[in-house]
Symmetry: C2
Subunit: 398 residues, 2 copies
Amino acid sequence: MPKINEHFTRLSKSYLFVEIAKRVRMWEEAHSDTEIIKLGIGDVTRPLPPSAIQALHGATDEMADPARFRGYGPEQGYDFLRNAIVAHDYEPRGVTISAEDIFVSDGSKCDTGNFQELFAVDQTVAVPDPVYPVYVDTNIMAGRHDRIVYMKGTPDNGFVSPPPNEHVDLLYLCFPNNPTGATATRSQLEQYVQYALDHDALILFYAAYVEFIRDPDIPRSIFEIPGAERCAVEFRSFSKTAGFTGLRCAYTVIPPTVTATDSTGTTYSVRDLWARRHSTKFNGASYPVQRAAAAVYSPQGAVEIRELADYYLGNAEIIRQGIDSLGFDSVGGTNSPYIWVNAGRPSWDFFDEILNRTGVVITPGAGFGAGGEGFIRISAFNDREKVKVAMDRIKKYL
Amino acid sequence: MPKINEHFTRLSKSYLFVEIAKRVRMWEEAHSDTEIIKLGIGDVTRPLPPSAIQALHGATDEMADPARFRGYGPEQGYDFLRNAIVAHDYEPRGVTISAEDIFVSDGSKCDTGNFQELFAVDQTVAVPDPVYPVYVDTNIMAGRHDRIVYMKGTPDNGFVSPPPNEHVDLLYLCFPNNPTGATATRSQLEQYVQYALDHDALILFYAAYVEFIRDPDIPRSIFEIPGAERCAVEFRSFSKTAGFTGLRCAYTVIPPTVTATDSTGTTYSVRDLWARRHSTKFNGASYPVQRAAAAVYSPQGAVEIRELADYYLGNAEIIRQGIDSLGFDSVGGTNSPYIWVNAGRPSWDFFDEILNRTGVVITPGAGFGAGGEGFIRISAFNDREKVKVAMDRIKKYL
């Protein structure tokens, strides 16, 4: 038989959402009279913005027309979308990014998971803790299980860990953070960039939640920090910004000045390496979906996605106030759709307590690694009325 | 600086379509009075089937409706699509495949490129020659540059090489073949399966062009061969079947009886390993696109995609007859949209000759590896009238 990639055997089983589903099912069977309310998984619930809907219908009509049909698109994405990204997500922030630096894809999970392929297996990787599990699992699959350094988020550092004390080669960051909802200030991001420049490290900056930032002092892109254009790659997504979790569209930004080296000291453009990987193992994002993504940059689309984020931020505010009123410490919930609550007990115990007393589902922090134990994540992605009912129940019964 | 994956430095530059585009541009500048006709790249040109269009509009309307909106879908694909695949692509062929064996994705290029990740780097890989470059490049990226065995297709074996004489662990096959258009008989597929069973090897069977098979004696799935359920994985796509190259949908089939081993002799389900990879590095195919894919299995959709394939097969017949009438030897063009022509001279020379004399663009076989030198690929993916004009010019001026 073929021999497996044995690094797969070092992966932890990913039981988190399976276990949650099991406990929820048991609770539902015993409480058929009470509606369960899910503030667990980080998935949007509101319909797509009208501008995106209109673009999907329009592109579908094109695909029915012999004169306007489109087959394979450019692997790196259509210019109409890449140019819109530059013009709306970077130029207004004073960031110099060109369309050639943009790689459109079907999702940031794929991009953040695949990006480590460009680097040698013996490279050391820093990840936050608590952490989005994809960063850890994809590096374990690649053989870096003993080369992962955890940057511990704690209540004391507001869940924004300082850079590692030791040398690492790759540094995953995520702000606004999943799962904690913490945001990094300009000065904190400057520290990371300084670390990367000092250590010749590369920052992999996951910025899927920037649309929720309302504080004008919080940078929306790592490239707002001088020097980042030499030591950072940024991953962005339309999933949370525009409700595209079911449509699938994201992009990765790699300035031409980001380089890596081989063992002889020859330097390589990371953008060129990713271009080779992207064109060899990917065949472009869906054309109607790219049209929908471009549509959210129209004047009307921009208004719609701001309203969409405002809606979830309104939910977050209700959750945050409710949690505050019960005397729990928390981070997130402003500039972020997640509220990260210090449970003061094991996170699965608190999960059970909330579920059993209120019929509300949250996510136990332990599912995001050792640093999440003792915390829970509450997600603002749900309908306003359900969020209100959930928080009323929590305030009443907890 | 981070150290790169040095296997990337062993990749050949992929100049094929860039070089073609350059020569075409030069020709166009010199011949502004003649319409260029492209029978080069293997991309569909006909609009999407009406049933797929209707499904895209319908799913778009769902995404606009708060009550019917869908966010993240199941990573392995929606049941409505996986069940349709089983019921229409496998059950009628007497093949026992269950929905749990089906993994829906955004493309077979990704799937065939990523699948090798499941296996140890020291595994030996057989690929056809000429070959779809993705099989080779993705194994080079993984570090198997010196573990690739080429199965040589020649006019003598009708471009269906026998299995290797030596042991290999993984065996890429593609029938109907890209680039040669050759199909494998039942008995030839039986030889491959016997080889795989004898050598404990795994067949990676790429069957993106099955919709073009009209000969009832040619198997459409590797799983029609007894024993394949223990030694084969199959990759299928809606790209050529239903014109989805711009929409992006494909699927991979892994029976639960396909296993691999670690160095201690413990066996693992390959389906489980792929499930872990798929759910860690992929987030599901676009929902409207999955609805469109399912729609081509409806009674009306089935008629439409058969007509679509018939259209391209009609083109292929015109090309094949034209090539025959000029006295060239060829394979393909029946049960396949590609015609593979023995040029009797270096393939780039023949490319230039055809372009300069007729304004028709084909693909030089040398772009598909050493075994393609001396051949050209003509693609039937174009409008009927253009194919007729192209072949008239070729018959007149060549």
